[in-house]
Symmetry: C2
Subunit: 275 residues, 2 copies
């Protein structure tokens, strides 16, 4: 098999670099024949730092490096434009058409997205409240608080409930509880009594049994809990339950937490609480 | 005071919409004289869904709506381009220059970023491991696991340690522990004995005392814990400790969790574990 072509890629920002990384990575996935070696360089917010970075980014044997930038400052941006690598300017490319459309100049201020602004305090409190809710309602710990849940995730142990709840809290400020169906409850093959009042908030997660087996093996190797037949049995029963109770559900096997979370937001008609 | 000009904005994607939202919001913050009313519409992945959305997005009295899109499919993208609103195509704008540079066509495949791919399983396990680490090492609960920490956040109660640890885990796969300095330890005015071996991993968080007072008031109103003088005392002492021990630290008051986290990554020389 021939080796993949390699290429160096830099995500450069005067802020956190999160936006440059996110869009840059999504563009790179469209070129799967190339092996990209990526590096994120945040807080490039002075001419000196920009010079240092530009000196560091040298031409490789494999071809010139690719830079994705979200630099706001015009001068720093010009420094990068003048260098000899391919500069994809994710920010300024859209500022001009927006200025024309809105008939005003942009403020060219750095770090507005994730930095100081009036929304920060409110967002911090909303996030903290949502994260605290997830932590105190993890693993069916606190069912008397379900009245305050935005959504209650239901599924077998290790199908992805906790990270999904945390993502919903951190990204959207959503109050997400999760309830693991135990083996006893699976045997009863109906919705646990204390969940009935909250049926409208329940969203099911399922998973491919071989994947579940793999995940549980890492947690408790060679246990009954991790046994493939046990996984197959639990998944079959919980999917039967979802169908019988007409609960919306999603298979987490080949989906990222981002995708599972946004699908839940959309299916449950949830609105983000964070601004 | 004159009312702000209003404008409708849509973030449209055939995937989760997270990237469109992230870059779109960062562009909008450059126009702070306008009040943008935003809506995210994810999973617009069929011609039918696109038609429905386009019909929904009608011209408002305030001016034509602005659309930020990360649509990969060329046909769906054309449907939006043909409509009468301002379309900012965050994805295809950069695909052509990349195709030229890399001398190959892109694969035009939807949902590669946050969807099915070979990295998902590894990322899921890395994230789970990091999140489990945060949860079992929250609030100084498990100091014997500090040998496995990538970073240990130190600060007074409610200065932002837990959400920062969770963000580091979810976003970067970093194993982040956190240790709250108690009043007893503050009185001793030195680094707690059991932290000394891990000094190189410690990063301090501080906060403006009035903000701390505000946050603690919401948690335990009118308590000694929330008292402004108490907050001032704790913050002063912890900052003295940071300086005396030459610990790196950051003020969380006017910074978002994203910004705090990326600054810690950068200052501690941490590399992201998630691909």
């Amino acid at each position: 098999m021939p080796e993949k072509i390699k290429r160096k890629v830099y995500f450069i920002s005067d802020g956190t670099g999160i936006t440059a990384e996110s869009l840059g990575q999504s563009l790179l996935t469209q070129f799967d024949k190339i092996e990209f070696e990526t590096q994120t360089l945040p807080y490039i917010n002075t001419a000196k730092k920009a010079d240092e970075v530009i000196a560091e980014i040298t031409i490789q044997a494999e071809g010139r490096p690719i830079v994705f930038s979200t630099l706001v400052d015009k001068n720093i941006r010009s420094q990068f434009q003048a260098a000899s690598f391919l500069c994809m300017d994710l920010f300024h490319t859209f500022i001009s058409p927006l200025e024309q459309e809105l008939k005003m100049e942009s403020s060219h201020t750095i770090g507005k997205t994730h930095g100081v602004n009036v929304k920060n305090y409110n967002n911090y409190m909303l996030r903290m409240s949502a994260v605290n809710y997830v932590l105190s309602n993890d693993d069916g710990a606190n069912i008397h608080e379900y009245a305050h849940a935005d959504v209650i995730l239901l599924g077998v142990s290790r199908c992805g409930k906790t990270p999904t709840c945390l993502y919903l809290a951190m990204q959207f400020g959503i109050h997400a509880a999760n309830y693991p169906i135990t083996e006893d409850e699976i045997n009863m093959s109906k919705l646990p009594e204390h969940l009935k009042d909250y049926k409208k908030k329940i969203f099911g997660l399922t998973i491919e049994p071989h994947r579940l087996n793999q995940i549980r093996q890492e947690r408790r190797p060679n246990s009954q809990y991790a046994n493939l037949r046990q996984c197959q049995y639990e998944v079959r029963e919980v999917e039967t339950l979802f169908k019988r109770e007409k609960l919306p559900y999603i298979d987490t096997t080949s989906r990222s937490i981002e995708e599972i979370s946004t699908q839940i937001m959309s299916a449950c008609g949830l609105k983000r609480r964070l601004m």
